[in-house]
């Protein structure tokens, strides 16, 4: 029987991840500049990546780390599309404020 | 052995009839641009070919087939070997016709052809789309009549709906969007409930599939098969709590469940028929729809509702149907009287004919709900008759509208002087509509009334009064439009053209044909109708007394 401590991930990386995630979430919710929002989303994504790597390491399995590669790839694609959208929005609206993009209001 | 294959033609004639209009609609894509007359001609040709195929079905249908008493005498099954699995969860593809469906398919094809032939020159915008939609709708409606699988039936039911919505919404009158929305939302609201009922009927009864025979086997005991398991009464969970709340014993709880499912079906069908309180979409839709739309709406789309009762709701839940029948009959009776009465006050010709449809379809329902051979035959025949006479009325009103650009009754008067041929045809159709003997209306009307009378004399009596008062509004219409001094508008109206007479001729011929020698129509209808009634009665009788099976003599397989 494996001791419980061996499978539990170390606290420090997880705390770092939680901190980063909270900062990212706060940025998404509080900042209005669309580029900063995008960067905050990246922060949240990377916080999750840290968690994945940490838990993967703790459980002595490679799945989590492999998944991080996928995640990074998706993040890159997302940034590319996201920045393109930002440019397109800036061109059409003349601003990069997320609150100006509210035409879906009911 | 449930299908008579002796008249199979060696190719899947029924599937061909079903999908030919759809293929024809796709074929429109291949035609060159901006040839409006060509599109209509192509559409008429495709629908005409479908009519020929439907005629072959009708002629080939064998009425005298020995197993009519065991099930509705389905023929031309395709695939003939058995249902083809289509979707997971027990959805299959199989089409077949019984005696009622075969005549309805013919009526659908004929009316579509005539509506298309009429549309030449009458519709000027987006002709290609118009023709395509009519053809797609034809497939949808025929599909409703031929589907052997309940889920397939539902798919066609909804498929027939969309083209009609677009026909009203794009080519309709001033209030077309309102009418189109109302039509769709009303019908969908009903059919959503039906979808629940469809799933419930299959899942609760643990039927093998949505196929008619499987459902019948699971729900309604077939003669000779013995009592079916039916739908088990829930012993735990919310269902059990509800049953406990009403304090029902086991048989009553089982009946209550069947009644609930039957009512869900009945609501969907009643909206389509339309029965009394669910009818208000009809005048709006009719008044706004283009002529061809009105013809098909009244001629065949309404029949989907009554057909649903005959084919699905009543045979699957015979005891529920018999329990609920008096209430539905009450609604139908109200509809007969009310429709006729409200029609009397109308100022718009189309809305008058629409309300008259409410009245006439009430009579159809009375005949069907008598659950008795004569009434069933009368009701089913009256479906055909209503399609012919009301279809013809809408065509005639459309012809008048094309000339005068109004349907206001008060704007006309004295038309007989300027349009004698038109007036004569209108009078014939009027006589058919009010059920004068010698025309088709009388045969269906009389049989429906007699059937209702034999089940409950009061039904027949009340319905008879309502039906005969129908003469009042039609004659009022005739008098206001055709008699009296010619109005300014009426004086300059040209009489029927040759093309219009060709369009009307089949309807007039059928009006007299069915009136005088209804046998070719009545024989398949009554054979299947009788067998449905017998099946229902036996189902109920065997559910009550399973021991009494041997009372009837069944044919041993030779």
């Amino acid at each position: 029987m494996i001791p419980l401590a061996a499978v539990l991930p170390p606290a420090q990386p997880l705390m770092l991840a939680a901190l980063l995630f909270t900062i990212g979430a706060a940025g998404v919710l509080l900042r209005r500049n669309i580029i900063i929002v995008l960067m905050s989303v990246e922060l949240m994504l990377n916080a999750v990546n840290i968690t994945l790597v940490a838990v993967s390491r703790a459980m002595l399995q490679l799945d989590g780390q492999v998944f991080v590669f996928f995640s990074l790839t998706i993040a890159a694609a997302e940034v590319a599309v996201g920045l393109a959208l930002v440019v397109a929005l800036h061109r059409s609206l003349g601003s990069s404020d997320v609150d100006d993009v509210s035409s879906l209001r009911g | 052995m449930l299908f008579n294959t002796s008249n199979a033609l060696g190719f899947p004639v029924l599937s061909l009839t079903l999908f030919l209009p759809l293929v024809g609609a796709l074929g429109l894509l291949l035609l060159p641009r901006r040839h409006d007359a060509l599109y209509v001609a192509w559409g008429t040709f495709v629908a005409g070919t479908t009519t020929v195929l439907a005629g072959i079905l009708w002629l080939g249908y064998e009425v005298d087939w020995p197993f009519t008493t065991t099930l509705a005498n389905f023929q031309f099954a395709d695939p003939a070997r058995g249902p083809l699995p289509w979707l997971p969860g027990g959805v299959t593809y199989q089409v077949a016709v019984d005696g009622i469906a075969v005549v309805l398919v013919f009526l659908t094809a004929l009316l579509t052809t005539l509506a298309l032939a009429f549309s030449l020159g009458s519709v000027r915008t987006r002709v290609r789309e118009y023709v395509a939609l009519l053809l797609v709708m034809e497939t949808g409606v025929i599909g409703v009549f031929v589907a052997m699988d309940l889920f397939l039936f539902y798919v066609f039911w909804e498929a027939a709906l969309i083209p009609m919505m677009l026909l009203i919404g794009i080519w309709g009158g001033k209030e077309r969007l309102y009418a189109a929305y109302k039509f769709v939302v009303y019908t969908i609201a009903g059919s959503a409930l039906m979808l629940v009922a469809i799933v419930a009927a299959k899942e609760l009864s643990h039927a093998a599939s949505f196929h008619y025979f499987d459902l019948m086997h699971a729900l309604a005991p077939l003669p000779g098969v013995g009592s079916a398991p039916g739908i088990p009464v829930p012993t735990s969970g919310a269902g059990a709590s509800i049953i406990a709340l009403f304090g029902l014993d086991l048989p009553h709880a089982a009946l209550a469940i069947r009644i609930a499912i039957f009512l869900a079906f009945a609501l969907a069908f009643a909206v389509k028929v339309p029965m009394f309180p669910f009818h208000t979409w009809l005048p709006d839709a009719h008044v706004q729809a283009p002529t061809a739309g009105s013809v098909l709406l009244a001629g065949v789309l309404l029949k989907m509702g009554t057909f649903g009762f005959i084919r699905w709701a009543m045979p699957l839940f015979p005891d529920a149907a018999m329990t609920v029948a008096p209430w539905l009959v009450a609604l139908a009776l109200v509809g007969i009287w009310y429709g006729a009465w409200v029609a009397f006050a109308q100022t718009d010709m189309k809305s008058l004919v629409a309300y008259s449809s409410v009245s006439h379809m009430g009579l159809v329902m009375i005949g069907i709900l008598a659950i008795q051979p004569v009434g069933m035959a009368g009701g089913a025949l009256q479906m055909i008759n209503h399609g012919l006479s009301t279809g013809a009325l809408f065509l005639l009103v459309g012809m008048l509208y094309d000339r005068a650009h109004t349907r206001d009754i008060a704007a006309f008067g004295g038309l007989w002087s300027s349009m004698p041929r038109f007036s004569a045809v209108f009078l014939v159709v009027t006589f058919s509509s009010i059920g004068l003997p010698g025309t088709n209306g009388f045969v269906g009307e009389w049989l429906s009334l007699l059937g209702a009378f034999q089940t409950r004399p009061l039904w027949g009596i009340l319905a008879a009064f309502g039906v005969v008062f129908g003469a009042a509004y039609m004659l009022r219409l005739v008098q206001r439009v055709f008699f009296g001094p010619p109005s300014e508008l009426s004086r300059s109206m040209p009489d029927l053209t040759g093309r219009e007479m060709v369009v009307l001729a089949p309807l007039v011929i059928l009006i007299f044909w069915i009136g005088l020698y209804p046998r070719p129509f009545l024989a398949p209808i009554e054979a299947s109708g009788t067998s449905i009634v017998e099946t229902m009665r036996q189902g109920v009788a065997e559910a009550v007394a399973p021991a009494d099976v041997g009372a009837r003599i069944h044919p041993p397989t030779p």
């Binding site: 919710l29 | 309180p277 009388f442 009378f453 034999q454 005969v468 004659l475 009296g484 003599i553």
Partner: protein, 807 residues
């Protein structure tokens, strides 16, 4: 040709005429249309006459070679078979409606060892649907397939298709042989295959000819032919003659279908079609909305009666399982089949139907308005034929009425009251056609009285004589109107012509051209503008006098005999005890006096005295196509009622109309009734005195020159009564106020208030509710990304909290 094959031609010929005129009428033109229609009608009459001579149905004392229409399948009470003279020719054209046809067939119920006779208890009769039988028979015929004894269970015992004897193929099991199986297979299944008549709901398009229908078709085709002939002249200047003659032929076809139908449903076809034709013909001059309205009124009032008939037919079918006269009437004669209650119900419903078609209270209102049609139409439809349909129908179904004595009394009361009331109204009308119309209603009331007294033959007899003299009167009135119109035009043309004789001198007192219409009555048919027409139009005038006297019941004209016979039977019933019959007799007698009075008034005002307008002054007799039918009808009105005709007629009708012996206590319609009342001679004298009294009174009031009693002063003296009669008891107004106006108001109410206001409003309210729900929930959608983000975060946090709680 046999009678059965010839029979369908009687209605078919007018139908052919109709179809020809519908398709080729305009090409033929007015003149040829008239000729085609008349020839069709004449041919129909010829066929009818041929049938009359060939069938000898109307020849009394003749006994038919075979009894038709009754076979051993039907339960025929012995009483019904007491009358071997019952002779009916059937001609079934095709099966009209069939639903669930079934056959009673004899079958084996359990295995039987071959070579042994089938025990009686192994044979039974079951009811099988047609399809099963057809299938089995085909199986036998095509495949020579044999049934083993086991398989024979439930199979049809039709073994004449099986090879019998040692040649029969054997495969293990022995076959059942015919002789051993079923000795009476022959009876169960005739050689043709199936029994002739399946059970279940089956109606044939079938005609039948017996003495009653034969008499009716002779009247319809005969009078109809004369009216067609007359129409050629009368309608000569109408542009729409093809349509007119087409309708006329269609009407003749419908009426012939009505009287020849072999079952209630075919009768009903004619019944409704004559109503429809009447609708079309009344509204023939449809440019005048009043005419079209009159047509519509006729149709709808008729239809109200038709509902009752329809319900009666449903009840008949439910009771007897058939609608064919040959099935129903013999059964109805059996009190075990037809109980009194059901009989009363059926008879009462039939009575309501008959009041609609035969214009009796309360449904008589359509007939006077029906005079809006061309006058020959009034003669044909509204005097001679269509309105008699009710009497014909009651006579046809008299077996049912015999079982419902209370309904018979109701029939008599309706008839007598209608006869009296209509005669009162006729007293004061100025429109010549309206006088005749109310007189028709009144005379139909007489026929009802006769039928109600159980004297069906007398009712039918009066129907016949009435057809003669009323057709004559209507055609004569038309001819007088024609003469008046001629006069108006003539007067216009030669207003200042040289006046030679004294009365021409008088004529110049009138302004040329027609005077303005009074009370909306066209001047040419207004009695107040007539006068002295006898001298101007002698043929029309004298025949009119003959018709009038026949109507008044003057000896020895037709009306005298038939009316006398009805009164005779009524007083016969009174003799049995029953004050009501005495009252009815008194009413009938008074009506006879009134009839004589208004007829006298009509004749005196129209034909005698001085002309009262330029039309009357310059009138000229009608062309010969119009006067010839008048002469023929006048001759018939003279001789039509003579006893040497009526005696054999009653004898010939007796087998059809005789009251069955065991119900004779209910109905004393037989000759015995005469013995209990005053003698025939006394009654004839009384009736003659009454008629002459009425005529004398009319003479006193309307004679040329100074009247002994001034009608104008009398009218003033009896102001209220006069106005009520003049206003036709205000029944039309009552119906308009009490029935028509509520009907239209309710229609408007239902449409606007109920349909738009409640039903549709509820639907739209549901729609609006859905929209409001959407409107409310749209507030959740702010459009700000961070709001959605916050939602996600809160949701995720909640989820996490739940998961933690779970752990």
């Amino acid at each position: 040709m046999s009678i059965e094959t010839l029979l369908p031609w009687v209605p078919a010929l007018p139908l052919i005429g109709f179809v020809t005129l519908v398709f080729f009428g305009r090409r033929l033109g007015g003149r040829w249309s008239g000729i085609v229609a008349t020839v069709a009608m004449g041919a129909a009459f010829a066929v009818a006459a041929w049938l009359a001579l060939g069938s000898a149905l109307l020849r009394p004392g003749w006994s038919p070679p075979r009894v038709m229409g009754i076979d051993e399948k039907h339960v025929v009470p012995a009483d019904y078979l007491d009358h071997p003279q019952e002779a009916v020719y059937h001609s079934t054209l095709w099966t009209w409606m069939t639903v669930a046809p079934q056959y009673d067939l004899t079958v084996v119920t359990r295995p039987v060892r071959a070579g042994e006779p089938v025990p009686a208890d192994a044979v039974t009769t079951i009811r099988l649907p047609q399809a099963r039988i057809t299938h089995d028979l085909e199986l036998f015929a095509t495949s020579h397939r044999m049934f083993t004894p086991e398989q024979a269970i439930g199979r049809i015992a039709r073994l004449d298709l099986l090879p019998i004897g040692p040649d029969a193929p054997l495969n293990g099991d022995r076959l059942l042989a015919e002789t051993t199986l079923l000795p009476d297979a022959e009876r169960a299944i005739p050689a043709a295959g199936l029994p002739e008549r399946p059970l279940g709901y089956v109606v044939d398009v079938a005609l039948q000819l017996d003495a009653l229908s034969l008499l009716m078709i002779l009247i319809v085709t005969g009078v109809g032919f004369l009216i067609h002939l007359y129409s050629i002249g009368y309608m000569a200047h109408d542009a729409d003659r093809p349509r007119y003659f087409a309708y006329l032929n269609l009407f003749a076809f419908s009426m012939l279908t009505l009287v020849l139908g072999a079952n209630f449903l075919v009768l009903f076809v004619g019944w409704e079609l004559v109503g429809a034709c009447s609708y079309l013909l009344i509204g023939f001059w449809h440019k005048d909305p009043a005419n079209a309205s009159a047509g519509r009124k006729a149709f709808i009032v008729n239809r109200i009666g038709d509902v009752a008939f329809l319900i009666a037919m449903m009840l008949i079918f439910t009771t007897f399982g058939s609608l064919a006269f040959a099935d129903v009437l013999p059964q109805a004669a059996d009190p075990l089949v037809l109980s009194g209650g059901v009989a009363t119900l059926i008879a009462a419903l039939l009575l309501v139907g008959a009041t609609g078609k035969s214009a009796q209270i309360p449904l008589y209102v359509w007939l006077p308005d029906a005079m809006a049609g061309p006058t020959p139409v009034s003669a044909l439809i509204h005097a001679a034929t269509m309105v008699t349909a009710g009497i014909y129908m009651m006579a046809r179904a008299h077996v049912i009425f015999d079982h419902a004595p209370s309904v018979l009394v109701a029939v008599a009361v309706v008839g007598a009251v209608t006869a009296f009331g209509a005669a009162l109204i006729a007293l004061v009308q100025s429109d010549i056609k309206r006088v005749l119309a109310y007189s028709t209603v009144s005379q139909l009331g007489y026929m009802f009285l006769g039928v109600g007294a159980g004297a069906y033959a007398s009712g039918v007899f009066h129907l016949m004589t009435h057809a003669f003299f009323k057709a004559l009167l209507f055609l004569g009135a038309g001819s007088l109107m024609h003469a008046m119109e001629h006069g108006f035009h003539h007067g216009k043309g030669s207003g200042h012509g040289a006046a030679s004789s004294s009365e021409d001198h008088d004529d110049d007192a009138f302004p040329p051209g027609p005077p303005p219409a009074l009370d909306g009555i066209p001047p040419e048919q207004d009695l107040r503008h007539m006068g002295g027409l006898l001298r101007k139009a002698p043929v029309t005038g004298w025949t009119f006098v003959v018709g009038g006297l026949a109507l008044a019941g003057v000896f020895p004209l037709a009306g005298f005999w038939s009316k006398d016979e009805i009164l005779h039977h009524v007083i016969g019933r009174a003799g049995e005890g029953g004050a009501i019959w005495l009252a009815l007799f008194a009413l009938g007698l008074v009506t006879a006096g009134l009839t004589a009075f208004y007829t006298g008034r009509l004749l005196l005002l129209a034909l005698f005295g001085a002309p009262r307008s330029s039309g009357a002054a310059h009138a000229a007799d009608s062309p010969r196509t119009m006067t010839a039918p008048l002469v023929v009808l006048a001759a018939l009105s003279i001789v039509g009622g003579l006893p040497w005709l009526s005696g054999p007629l009653a004898e010939a009708l007796d087998p059809v109309l005789r009251v069955a012996g065991h119900v004779a206590t209910n109905v004393a319609g037989s000759a015995h009734a005469a013995e209990s009342g005053p003698s025939a001679l006394t009654l004839a004298l009384i009736a003659s005195a009454v008629a002459l009294g009425g005529l004398a009174l009319a003479w006193a009031m309307y004679r040329p020159g100074t009247p002994l009693v001034d009608p104008a002063r009398l009218a003033t003296a009896m102001g209220g009564a006069y106005r009520t009669l003049r206003g036709k008891f205000y029944v039309d107004e009552l119906y308009a106020w009490g029935l028509v106006r509520p009907f239209t108001r309710i229609a408007d109410f239902l449409w606007h208030r109920v349909d738009d206001g409640v039903v549709d409003a509820a639907v739209n309210a549901v729609g609006r509710g859905a929209v409001a729900l959407g409107q409310g929930s749209r507030r959740w959608q702010t459009g700000y990304v961070r709001t959605y983000g916050l939602g996600i975060v809160i949701g995720a946090a909640a989820l996490a909290a739940w998961l933690l709680w779970l752990v």
